[in-house]
């Protein structure tokens, strides 16, 4: 690759992140028009690297160059800020319409004063057409599906004619088929504009088939860059695990017991352009794992909300141990033996400012053994934490450690420990390993499956076909607001599930 073709060139880059080196003496060259993936679990410095390329942080050492952004230090960072387009992980909801968003930064002016609405509309139409968004021009951003919102942000970024596209975990809230669609659109946009695109992700699958290369970031180890033409996806996953000898779960099919939860005809209107639930029926039995796989915007979020008690279905019933709980609050569900494990980054399952011992007793402070006569029993709370840390083999953590000081994987281990320690009748699980290292993912899955073998029913909601395949005794795909059942067999493949999720099988 000659210098002429190089879109991004990083030489000897050293970056600090949270008291350690995110990257040290890091070199990278990405050709113009190519997509490059930066793969790593949460807190490995992916975002720091991206922010440094975008010029939001000044590098400690080294050089970062792409067309239109030369120079070093503060000057170089300012040039990179001007010349790059950075798409953050979270897109705040906005009441702007798509057409307005697409012309927000460089709206054509009338006599240099007011906005020339006619020209602005034409411009917006052109920009939307490049990514197939034309029918959505008059839709407010907050009503769009996550994929559409990402595409709109991409179109808006391209309108600024940047020298490089930088996307921080753009597939985090997308299903696998949506992620593919987005990355394909990104690659063709990068090719057309002849600029490099750098994408951070926690999923190896995002590198295939669109990315030219992958850089793997580990905490405390040197990054490695590989080419996707030379390394297959399976080899990439193996390489990412670093040869730590992870054994796969589950331990085998389980024998189902009594029926615990039965949902019949659940109907709920989606928000904005989210797919509504159009009559969902399922039942969950003791000692089995029912996995439901789907894209978040295809009804998975709605179903999860109904199970959590955050939203009430407009039609249908949900019986748990014979009682209709469709309209019961979450507290009542927990009291009757249903508990929840949400994705590691979910905000509703831990309090970062509290200590580990308080988080391990969260939700159980109303009475014995953790409280008596309206007062907390600190000895019991601490004792519970000591026992949980020992039983669940959680290293380097003390009961009085601040929860927010632990890494994401450790926090999720503790949350899983808290939920299984009381032997619930039913565990509702939603993507428990999302964004964790493979080691942490396996720990979490293994702990949950072991709990299933003790008699607990697991209802496992996920957007990851691989995860569903690995844990399911029975498997359903949520597509167009309804469940499609797929027999769990040896010959079942990830592609079959993705096809069902995208509706291609129909």
């Amino acid at each position: 690759m000659g210098d002429k073709d190089v879109g991004l060139k990083i030489g000897g880059l050293t970056l600090a992140e949270g008291g350690r080196w995110a990257v040290k003496e890091f070199d990278l060259a990405v050709p113009a028009g190519a997509v490059h993936v930066v793969l790593g679990e949460r807190d490995t410095g992916k975002s720091a690297l991206l922010q440094s390329i975008a010029g939001f942080r000044v590098e400690e050492k080294g050089t970062i160059r792409f067309p239109g952004a030369e120079g070093e230090g503060r000057e170089g960072a300012a040039a990179r800020r001007r010349g790059s387009a950075f798409l953050p992980r979270e897109i705040p909801p906005s009441a702007l319409r798509v057409a307005e968003r697409l012309t927000l930064h460089q709206a054509p002016r009338w006599l240099g004063i007011g906005i020339d609405k006619r020209r602005a509309k034409e411009q917006a139409r052109e920009r939307a057409a490049a990514l197939g968004l034309e029918p959505l021009l008059d839709v407010p951003l907050e009503a769009l599906r996550p994929l559409e919102r990402r595409l709109v942000e991409l179109a808006a970024a391209l309108a600024e004619s940047p020298g490089i596209l930088l996307l921080d975990e753009p597939t985090g809230d997308l299903g696998p088929h949506e992620a593919r669609q987005f990355l394909a659109a990104l690659r063709s946009a990068a090719e057309r504009a002849q600029i490099p695109a750098i994408v951070t992700t926690t999923w190896p699958r995002d590198a295939y088939p669109e990315a030219r290369g992958v850089t793997i970031l580990w905490r405390g180890a040197a990054p490695v860059t590989v080419s996707t033409t030379e390394v297959t996806e399976i080899a990439l996953v193996e390489r990412w695990t670093g040869g730590i000898g992870i054994k796969r779960t589950p331990s085998g099919a389980h024998t189902a017991g009594d029926m615990l939860l039965r949902a019949e005809g659940l109907v709920l209107q989606g928000r904005g352009r989210e797919t509504s639930l159009a009559g969902v029926d399922f039942e969950v039995n003791a000692r089995e794992v029912l996995a439901i796989c789907g894209a978040p915007a295809d009804g998975l979020n709605l179903l999860h909300d109904i199970l959590l008690g955050s939203r009430t279905p407009t039609r249908g019933t949900m019986h748990f141990l014979g009682k209709d709980i469709a309209r019961a609050p979450r507290r009542l569900r927990v009291d009757s033996g249903m508990t929840f494990v949400n994705p590691p980054h979910a905000r509703d399952q831990s309090i970062l400012d509290f200590n580990v011992d308080e988080n391990l007793a969260l939700g159980q402070m109303q009475g014995p053994p953790f409280a008596r006569g309206g007062f907390l029993r600190h000895d019991s709370i601490r004792g519970n934490a000591v026992r949980a840390l020992l039983d669940f083999d959680i290293p380097e953590t003390e009961p009085d450690t601040r929860f927010g000081d632990l890494n994401l994987g450790m926090r999720q281990r503790l949350i899983v420990a808290r939920e299984v320690i009381h032997n619930p009748r039913l565990l509702v699980i939603r993507s428990p390993g999302q964004g964790l290292s493979l080691e942490a993912q396996e720990y979490v899955r293994r702990t949950l499956i072991l709990q299933c073998e003790r008699g607990t029913a697991l209802l496992w909601l996920t957007e990851e076909p691989e995860e569903a395949m690995r844990v399911a005794d029975r498997l359903a795909v949520l597509t167009a607001g309804k469940l499609v059942w797929i027999p769990v067999t040896e010959t079942m493949t990830r592609e079959m599930i993705i096809e069902e999720m995208s509706g291609a099988a129909a």
Binding site: D348, D353, L362, F375
Partner: protein, 352 residues
């Protein structure tokens, strides 16, 4: 005690606040040296019921801001609650039906109820119409300002009720009050101060050791998680704003007790907001606020402070110094999770 989940002040912040207090003491004395109005003799007789009432007032105002703060609420309606308490108390004094001592207690009780009611209204507006407490608090403060002026006991605009800086004249004009004898003010002032101390320490103890305190901390640190674990977040916030309002209302009503020598009216900005200065200087912890209130009361009684606060420019400078701790405490006030997404709505309401 620095409470987890709220103002996580460290040694640097503590040092910063200590420097602010030092600057206040040293600065006002140094400035006053050049002032013709300086009366060093005033230092000889400050330790009376006046000082006690000033301390009690500042403590209650500090608690009025701190109670809701631990539930994740910024009680900027503290001045509104103070004004309502004052207005109700002043109305009772103007009525003059019963003897002064009975009026004094009646005014306090009515102030507590009126201030608490204002806090509850703010909570109701937040829960029913998703109006953020900062917005409703400021609007209510502005709305109650004319009421306070109209009901002022001596029909002179009390400086503490205005928003103009430095309009402090000598002799002090504010609230001739009930002409209560000094022995009454001293005795019952000590009781009120003790009550404020006990309430503050009990609250601090409950936060750490009681189930209800845990619910308050959970609500303040992460309302989403609090809801998920069965805490009735809206009820907790309602109670905290009501309690905070009651404390501010009590301080407002306490103004009708005061004699002309009371230093509270020399406060350089709307008096209700003094609670925020107390909370920020105390790094958001209850015990810190107790110390801050006593220190500020002592400062207000130095002869230098009395002289300097009569100067509009110096008054403005002191306001800035007093509010500077907010620079390092305020950014730590918002919960890390479930923080209000905008001034209009709170996220936990949208999620449930």
């Amino acid at each position: 005690m620095i409470l987890p989940g709220r103002c996580r002040g460290g040694k640097l912040q503590l040092l910063g606040n200590a420097l602010v207090v030092l600057a206040l003491f040293a600065g006002t004395q140094a400035l006053a040296l050049g002032s013709v109005d300086l009366n060093p003799a005033a230092w000889a007789a400050p330790w009376t019921g006046d000082v006690v009432l000033v301390s009690a007032g500042l403590l209650f105002l500090g608690l009025a801001f701190l109670f809701p703060l631990h539930g994740g609420l910024l009680n900027l309606g503290i001045h509104a609650q103070f004004l309502v308490g004052y207005s109700v108390g002043a109305s009772i004094v103007r009525g003059g039906i019963v003897d002064p001592a009975a009026q004094a207690w009646l005014a306090l009780a009515a102030g507590v109820l009126a201030g608490g009611g204002t806090g509850l209204v703010m909570a109701w507006l937040k829960q029913k119409f998703a109006i953020h407490e900062v917005l409703s608090g400021l609007l209510l403060s502005a709305a109650f300002m004319p009421l306070g002026r109209a009901l002022a006991v001596d029909r002179v605009t009390p400086p503490a009720l205005t928003i103009e800086l430095g309009a402090f004249a000598t002799p002090l004009r504010f609230a001739p009050g009930l002409s209560l004898p000094p022995s009454f003010v001293l005795t019952w002032g000590i009781l009120l101060l003790s009550a404020a101390l006990v309430i503050g320490l009990l609250f601090s103890h409950a936060l750490r050791n009681a189930v209800a305190g845990f619910a308050v901390r959970a609500t303040g640190a992460n309302p989403l998680a609090a809801v998920a674990t069965g805490v009735e977040v809206e009820r907790v916030q309602l109670a905290l704003l009501g309690l905070g309002g009651a404390c501010a209302g009590l301080t407002g009503a306490l103004q009708v007790w005061t004699q002309p020598a009371v230093m509270l009216e020399r406060w350089p900005f709307p008096l209700g907001f003094a609670g925020m200065a107390v909370a920020f200087l105390g790094l958001g912890s209850v015990r810190g606020a107790l110390v801050a209130a006593l220190v500020l009361a002592a400062w207000l009684n130095t002869p230098g402070a009395a002289a300097v606060l009569q100067h509009p420019g110096w008054g403005a400078a002191i306001t800035l110094v007093l509010l500077s701790p907010a620079l390092w405490v305020l950014p730590r006030l918002q919960p890390e999770q479930g923080a209000p997404r905008s001034i209009w709505r709170t996220r936990h309401r949208e999620a449930i």
